[in-house]
Each structure stands twice: as C-alpha cells, then as structure tokens.
Subunit: 348 residues, 2 copies
DNA sequence: CATCATACATAAAGCGCTTTAGCGCTTTAC
DNA sequence: GTAAAGCGCTAAAGCGCTTTATGTATGATG
C-alpha cells in the first residue's frame, strides 16, 4: 500500500477506481474481492489503481450490502473496577487480536455492568448486523445466553467453556478438572493431608467444574479438603486464607483460583510467620509473570492464555465460514512447580 | 425495551415502523433521532411502535448515510505477550467503556505489532469511516502519529499524554513530574541519599518526563540518583535492581515505573536477605491490588486509572461534538505510603 | 381576504458497496 | 451439428438509513 495520506475531503470509492481502470464498478468489486468474473489482467489493473488511489473499503457500505462487517464482538459483564485485577482478559484479548489482525478483523468490545445489558448488547449487534460473530466468556451454569445463540437467526458464536454447557454450539475449553486433579495429587504426593481450595465466583461454570474435581480427587485420595468461596479479589483471597488457617487442624496446602489471590495468601502466611513452603504450600491457578517474581516463587497451573485466545478466534472464523459445531480442547493447564510447594510440615 | 428475541429471519427496519405507525420513513427517522419536524404525538407513537417491533438501528446503514458510527477506536501497538503484564490497559479500557456504554457507543480495539501497522489501521478507519474518533496512547517523543491527526480530514482524536507533545490537539494528561518529585522528596525526607529510578521504555514520552523530573529533583536536593532502563517486564526490573545493588554505594531507595517491576525488586531484596523497609525502601508507580498484598505492602504512586479512562472518553465525546482543543489535567498520582518505605539504614 | 410564516409530513436522492440477471461471445459435450 | 456451458464483463437493483427539497395544512398578519 502506498502511504500517501489521501487527498483531504475527497473520499475514494470503487466508482473512482472503475472510472480510472475503465471498467464497471461491479468488475471492480469482483476484482477486489478475489472472486471470479474478471480476467487476471483486469484484476491486476484494478488492484493497481486501487492502490494508487489509496482506496480503503467503506465497511459500512460493505455490511449494508449484505456482506461481512469484518468485526467480531465480545462483551464483558464485569465490574470495571475489578477488570484490571486479573491478567487473564488482557492476555486473552491480545491472543484474539493476534489472529484477527491477520485477517484485517477488528474486535468490538463492550464492558457492561450485568447479564441483562450483555443480552441487550448481543441483540442490538444481531439486529444491527454490527458484528460477524461473537465470543462468549464467563460461562455460567445453565447459562441463558447459550439458549439465545441457539435460535435460528442467532449470530455465529464460540463459547469459551465446557462443552457440556455449550448446548451443542462450538466451544473451546480447557480440561480444568484434570489440572485440578494434578494439583491435588502433587500436594498429596508431598505428604499433605489437609488441602484448601480458595475458589472463585460460584456461578461461573468452571468454578463448579474445579470444585467437583477438587472434592472428588481429595476424597478418592482419602484427604481432607476445605472449599472456600471468594470473588477473585486479593482481599477475599486473604480473608479466606485467614479463615482456613484459623480453624483447628488448618490446611497445609492451598490451591487458589487465580494468581492475585495466591499472592495475597502468601502475604497472609508471611504476616503470621508461617514459612512457605516449610509450613505451607501454595499453588496458583493462572500462571503469570507475577508468580515467578514473588518470594518464594509461586507454583502455578500454567496455561498459555494468549494462545488460547488465538485458538478461540480461529474457531470463530471457522464457524462463520460454516464449519460444523464442535468442542475443541485447548491445552491443559499444567502444574509448574516452583519454590512455593514442599513436603508437608508433619512429614519433615 | 421489550425483550422478545425478534422474529427469526425478518429484520425490523424503519419501513416496518413507518408502515405500522402510518407515517413516512422520514418521519420515523426524525422521531427516532429526536429531531424537530414531527409532532410530539407522532414521535410518541413512532417510539412505541419501534419498541413494540423490537427495532434496533442498523449501524451500517446509519453510518453509510453519513451519520456517526457510534464507535470509537483504539489501537495498541504492543507485543501481545506482554500486554497482560500491566494492569494499566485493562483498567483504562474499563474506564473508557464505562463512559461509552452510557451513550451506546462501542470500542473498536486493535492490537498490532508495530507503529506502521497502527498508522495503517488509523488510515483504514478514516477512509472507511469506521469510527467516530480515536484514542491515542503510548505517546512518544516527537510522535509521527500526532502529525497525522493534524491533517485537515483527520479523525477526531484525544491524545493521552503530555500537552507539550500533543501538537495543539486535545490531550488528557497526568502531572507525572509532580508525582515523581513527591516520591523523591518522600525518600529524601526519610534520609535516603542514594535513590534509584527503574524506568520503563525510553521512547515513551512519559518516561522522559519522569526521567527529567527525577534527575532534576535528585540534583536539587543534593542527592545521588541512578537511572536504570527496562522494558517494564519483571525480569528486567529484577535485573536492574541487581545491577544497582551490585554497585558500590548501592541505592537505599528504589522508585519503579510500574507495579510488577516493584514486586520483582522486592523479591530480589528478599533473595539477598535485605529487609524491606529496614535496608531498602521501595516505591511503585501504578498502584494496584497487587501492591496492597505483597509483604511488606508496597508504597505506590496511586492513580485512579478507571476514572482516567472515563475522563478521556468524555473528552473525546466533546471533540466529536466540536469542542475546541484543549489540554486537560487528570488527577495527579499521589504517593500512598505503605510498609515498603522507611528511614534510610544509615540514619537509624 | 390575500399573504406569509410556521409546523408537520412526505417523497426521493443518495451514501458505497455486493450481487443478480443478462449480454455477446467462445468453448466443450454429445 | 446443435445444445449447453463458460467467460469476462455491464447494468441495475437494493441494503437501511439520513437528509434535502417540496408539499399541505393551519394560524397569524396586515
């Protein structure tokens, strides 16, 4: 592309290209979209002229005429104040974008306070043909949004979450249950008999899945498990940690549902002069640079979230292109053992 | 809004509304857009019918017809892998969105690898009338993007950065120099004589501004200052910290350009059995929940970034509405003193 | 009573593109 | 040999909306 900033005022349209290339606008459209109906010579000529004139498609006109909008949409129903806490979304976004950018797609992002506004946004996008497809995150148990996307005229969608809850729509998921079992086993192998899970928001589907896997694995190994509920904030993580430590027979191993809560938990331990990992072992979900740089470094269930986002984007392109729905397993978060885990205190 | 999911297939347009309300589509358009030319009775009727039919505007048609797109755009020229590291962008986005959502605007986000792709994206948006305005972040010294937005046919823009670099365009900024001075003075007041600044990317404008303020304040107080360059990653933060501590007469006070580097610095101190704040005082830029939950808690230059984002969005609305350009000062990041700062070791 | 605003409404043009129907021609199939 | 199919292209309709020019009443004005 030539980089002249374009003549101010005068917008260049395909009519201009048509005139200059001596063909009809229809031919220009065919040439520009790589469709058959024009000779290679003409196509080349049109492309040259378009380049020369510095043409860029008017996406509005394009989508009005029934074509794609070259845009995917994602809405986040979260409190804006807490959005920055977890690095997950930013990484996920970055991953999505890396794939979208390659095809010249943009991402329309909307942060709304609640579920109802999310639904309304999806409806407006669908009716207004604003996006070509949407990404559904924060899947809930029995999520009403899933039903909306099963309707005949619904937008193409990829659901980020367990296939069992995706109602036959295309989903991309991670095997959180397997990861949870790995974490529990790791602690058990090191002699821990009492393990706490500091869990995230209850209504989120993956929380339930992790809960179940935790309870199941703990009981099948004959361990004692404690389940604590939080909202993902470090405050809550600290609170839950204190509550668990205040009980009699406190846990010696903690598994946190995100990295910031694990950091908060670590701080609680330090406050109480508990040594990590000598007195307490800690595992975080969601590895991040943060985990590598605490002291001691936090063990974490590590997952390439940027790649995850990219994967989701590719699947959405497939759906838009008419691919059959399917459930696609992304890589399983694996335990990255660092200094924060060690043998249980009693066994030392 | 009535929440029927809309009859599948048949899209509701203003013609449908016109037919049902017994008026022309022109009248419907006027009524829907709150413009004069229709009686109150007609307007009410049209609005009712629109509601009843579950109409949503086709944004493509709207913007094709020369009106707004109800969308702002922002492009981030960053390595996707590093985007998740800092919580700044996510908070900033959340702030933007909180304001946009109120007016039914969306945010078109694009993450690109470099400056050239950013420029190309802006050009495509301008030519294709894809957005009503753009937000320019990560302002650089002598930024070529600024010039592009000074052109006659340029898109409305708000520049996030120092007015001295905004070339007369509307800017929203924070007085980083004042914040830096406050941090340096705080350490000086506590008796620190050797202070290190662990700075971010050199080409970013605010890095320079902080650099200058640091150097200036340090020298005017007769202190010894060390300036270390990083790329904002905790790895680099740790490296810089080690380098500074390895010198003879190592600094006793550190000011980091973001929170994750400060955490990394804290870890380096712990590794070396340096006590914080007894041996070393630490201040982070960009307060976050993280800072409150390290041990000891990190002092930080605290700034409400969500509010900052919202402020920027409001200014962009003003620009789009034809407001005169101006430089708008957001609140100044203030030092929030926590456990990580104390008297210099020599003075104890 | 003719005149002129004023308020309300309509018809129609047009935004920039995609896409269908068809044109005159050449090639292939049977 | 003829029918069918393909080629490269054009003309024109239409996507859903905004907006201008143009009526047509109504009431106020002189």
């Amino acid at each position: 592309m030539v980089s002249e900033p374009g003549t101010p005022g005068s917008r260049v349209t395909i009519s201009d290209i048509a005139a200059r290339a001596g063909v009809s606008i229809g031919a220009v459209s065919f040439a520009l979209n790589g469709r058959k109906g024009v000779s290679e010579a003409t196509r080349k000529r049109v492309l040259e002229v378009a380049d020369e004139l510095g043409w860029a498609p008017a996406s509005a006109a394009r989508s009005l005429a029934g074509a794609r909008t070259d845009t995917f949409g994602m809405v986040l129903a979260r409190d804006p104040q807490n959005l920055g806490v977890e690095s997950f979304y930013m990484k996920f976004l970055a991953g999505l974008e890396s794939e979208l950018a390659q095809r010249g797609f943009g991402l329309l992002l909307q942060v709304v306070p609640g579920a109802e506004q999310e639904r309304a946004t999806h409806e407006a996008w669908r009716r207004g043909r604003r996006v070509d497809g949407v990404i559904l995150v924060d899947l809930q148990v029995d999520d009403p949004r899933v039903r909306a996307f099963q309707m005949p005229a619904a937008l193409p969608v990829v659901i980020v979450g367990d296939p069992s809850l995706a109602g036959g729509l295309t989903s991309v998921w991670t095997d959180d249950a397997a990861s949870m079992r790995e974490a529990v086993r790791e602690l058990a192998d090191r002699g821990h008999r009492r393990i706490a899970r500091v869990a995230g928001l209850e209504h989120l589907a993956h929380t339930r899945i992790r809960d179940d896997a935790f309870v199941d694995e703990v009981s099948s190994l004959g361990l004692q498990g404690v389940l604590l509920r939080t909202d993902y904030t470090p405050d809550e993580g600290a609170r839950a940690t204190r509550a668990a430590l205040d009980g009699d027979a406190p846990p010696t191993g903690f598994i946190y549902d995100n990295d910031v809560m694990a950091v908060a938990g670590l701080t609680v331990a330090l406050e109480r002069d508990l040594r990590v990992p000598d007195d307490l072992s800690i595992i975080a979900w969601d590895d991040s640079v943060l985990c590598e740089h605490t002291y001691p470094a936090l063990s974490a269930l590590s997952h390439d979230i940027v790649a995850f986002g990219a994967h989701v984007a590719r699947r959405l392109f497939d759906v838009v292109d008419g691919a059959q729905p399917g459930a696609f397993l992304d890589s399983t978060p694996r335990l990255r053992a660092r200094a924060s885990i060690g043998p249980a205190p009693s066994t030392r």
